[in-house]
Subunit: 195 residues, 4 copies
DNA sequence: CATGAATGAGTTTTCATTCAT
DNA sequence: GATGAATGAAAACTCATTCAT
């Protein structure tokens, strides 16, 4: 009962890092800043995590799992249960756009994670795994569209690449929201048309 | 004559940073490491640039302009001068794939630049400008395809987003090169088909 | 009945420190490491002792008294009760060699205690007292050898100094055990010869 | 000309550590304290040495070599050149007593080095090497005394052990200087008598 | 008594930057 | 222009100690 348990405290710290990453890259965020954001003593971060890098690793796991769970919940939700394939794919894109691609705080964090992954093999490996799972799920959805399963995997990879490129642009180009939605909508339409 | 002029020394330093960025992010690369890579005394970096950040700014200008120039040269080259629209667009994609999207050292550096841009307004602004120019050039090439110029701009943005997403994946997914080429080729085909 | 009493717990902790000191100097041994070695919660160490330094002080008392008691027991034992002076001195050296000078874990700990004593007046004082007692006991044994009691005290001091030097060398020189025994035996012989 | 050269600065720092070790053990002496004692900025210690441990290693080399050189100079000096064996051994003990065994600041530092050596294999190795050289030199001097060279090595080891024990006692027992001299003189006499 | 979360002072280390030569 | 010694701020990390439960 009382106060937060150990695991909750860890989450509290990881959420604090998530907030910090909206303002500064990880390398420029000090342990003390994360602690302050979390409202705890900086020494405590070393009680729960064995190093700053350890916080990062746990954070990346946390953020990837958070969105994986969110995605899994949605997949098991009503939208996917009832609809036909076309509707399902349409719903899928809707979910992706709303919750991932146009989620700016998330995109910011992912651009940071991309960069860390480039120079950090363990992080790169985690990220690769997450993208592969995502591509696989989409490939299954597109399966009936293409005779060759290799082709559906390639198309699926291309779609995810496009969405990640759009996430990047949503941050860098500072685009007009409506204009940006149109690009995604036009794309989505083209795909659904193909079915 | 004997030794490099001031401008050449600056370029030497920026190229050294370019090499360093293949191994470590900018924040983890010290002035001394850049100097060592450049083969000059570290104190000199502060003679040519007013701070470490100043080196970064000049580096980003340098790398963007380098590729802009490369692109401009190519645009004015023989491939573009003679061909019809279809061939020009085909040649354009070929150029993009070979020199940009599948250029891994460049992609690494750009993922780094993306991340810096997220937290650094001046860098973000430069990067936005570069992407806009790129999108504009492509939009002009696609102009005749679409009645509405807004549409051709959207399609152009989508294409560039896709290519950047593929550049990201070329680093993160550590894909099979041939497989990756097929994705790009399939995409390119679809676009040319539309013409 | 069930669990250890307070005094036993203290001993348990001091013994744990004794084990730790085989691996690391006191300054590099944390309270938590001692606690872990003792199998108790680290917070308890502050219940039984008022500070880390307090543990050290009690440890040094403990170790010195432990060997004083051992020595006293031996002095009151059968070897000393029955024999003539020559045999007693011979037995004395045998005891010293076996239980003190060639006891490597003990020597390690004493080198540590010497160092602490150098910079810590209270510890130095305890150690001085212990050495004086030891020298006095030996001086009494040598009493009949020398007319002047000052001389027997000096010889006694010299012998103890020699034995401590040998203890040091047993750790630092990593000597061949047999060779080392010969040095001690040769020395002992010379002394007994003098009687 | 100007100011100290790099090597001189290093010596300056090592001498500063030497002063510090009269007051505190190495582990309790901070880099900042050493720097302050040396009259230089603490950052500079990391310019000249790669870590605190590196300072320690260089310090131990420095102190050992310092006394080795002192000893070598003396060996090549007038006292040893002219005299007979008896006088040479007598002179040798005189040198040892004055400059080593009764040199209290040196003894303090050596007790510290002993302790460090116990837990630090590289330091232990250096120290062992130094003691072996010392024992060897003395063994050569005692060579004619004993038929068996192994015996002269054992006696030599015993003598050095005794002297180190006396150095320890000169610190721990806080003895009366005159009384202490008598012990050493008595011992010396016995050895010379044996010749 | 026992636990382990929490605190905060103190330490080593790194590094951009300056500057005298 | 070039050099490398010097500075000082800031960072990660450790750990004895406290204390609520």
């Amino acid at each position: 009962m009382s106060s937060k348990s150990g695991e909750d405290k860890k989450i509290l710290i990881l959420e604090a890092l998530n907030v910090c990453l909206q303002n500064k890259p990880f390398d420029q965020t000090s342990i003390k800043e994360i602690a302050q954001q979390a409202g705890v003593n900086h020494g405590l971060l070393h009680y729960y995590f064995k190093s700053k890098e350890d916080i990062l690793i746990h954070y990346i796991d946390y953020i990837i799992n958070h969105y994986k769970d969110m995605f899994a919940d949605w997949l098991n939700g009503p939208e996917m249960a009832e609809a036909g394939q076309k509707q399902r794919i349409s719903a899928f894109f809707h979910f992706m756009n709303d919750r991932i691609t146009l989620n700016r705080p998330l995109s910011k964090v992912f651009i940071e994670i991309w960069e860390i992954a480039v120079y950090h093999p363990a992080v790169k490996s985690k990220l690769r795994q997450a993208y592969r799972e995502w591509v696989d799920i989409l490939a299954v959805m597109l399966n009936r569209l293409f005779v060759d399963p290799d082709v559906s995997r390639r198309v699926s990879t291309a779609i995810v690449a496009f969405l990640e490129g759009m996430a990047l642009f949503s941050i860098i180009l500072e685009p007009d929201e409506a204009e940006f939605q149109k690009i995604l909508a036009g794309f989505q339409e083209k795909i659904v048309e193909m079915l």
